[in-house]
Symmetry: C2
């Protein structure tokens, strides 16, 4: 959310790059790939949506079924699916009166299950996180 690039940049430091280290890394990643990855991560970064994907990983479902399972409204679920669809994470096909949604791709399923497995392990040996920032007072 780049809020209008105003006058000057934030305060810049005196230490130039290369002062500390000898090698200077730069962009290094394709802008397009980065943008695409961000879109995927953004879509995955919402609990209801991620849960929905985890459910769809077990098989196709129609919108009404999802709404029932999640105990959410049709409109709500539909909007969620729209976001997932615009990030190419789900597929959609009609089956009579119903529209069945599923994971777009095996790859997506792997990405999700990897992340969930990783998250269960608790990667760094830390219980919570972001906690001890309080100045003496």
């Amino acid at each position: 959310m780049k809020a209008l690039a105003t006058a000057r940049k934030n305060e810049q430091p005196d230490c130039a790059p290369g002062e500390h280290r000898r090698k200077r890394p730069s962009a290094a990643v394709s802008a397009a790939a980065l943008e695409r990855a961000v879109r995927i991560f953004k879509a995955l970064g919402d609990e209801p949506r991620l849960r929905l994907l985890a459910i769809l990983a077990q098989g196709e479902l129609c919108v009404s079924e999802i709404a029932e399972i999640d105990d959410d409204g049709l409109s709500t679920v539909s909007q969620r699916l729209r976001v997932l669809r615009s990030a190419d994470l789900v597929s959609r096909r009609r089956d009579g009166q119903h529209i069945l949604y599923g994971l777009a791709d095996q790859h997506i399923g792997e990405l999700i299950s990897n992340a969930l497995a990783h998250a269960s392990e608790g990667l760094p040996a830390r219980p919570s996180a972001a906690k001890k920032n309080r100045k003496k007072n």
Copy 2:
């Protein structure tokens, strides 16, 4: 962003779960793991942050160096690092006057490079996005 759970749920459908399919999937994922995964994805779902992580994947850097590379202000970079830190994605250690940041974990590096690789391939055979889902290979 559940906007105050008002009166009734959105319009519910008439077709009960089980009407279409025989198996009914439920939660299926640990709430804690899901929450944690969401926090990670949320942190990854921002271009400047993801780029920053990709840069850190090449080695530790201090805040000033990052600010210089990204052409962003110290404050801006610092806030970004705060978000990444609170999602346990980066490590931090002091080195004299400087504070060096790096990836928290090898796992994170893999997650990112996997996602970027996946994104470069363009998983569905599509140039742009949000149009039609086609499964290839």
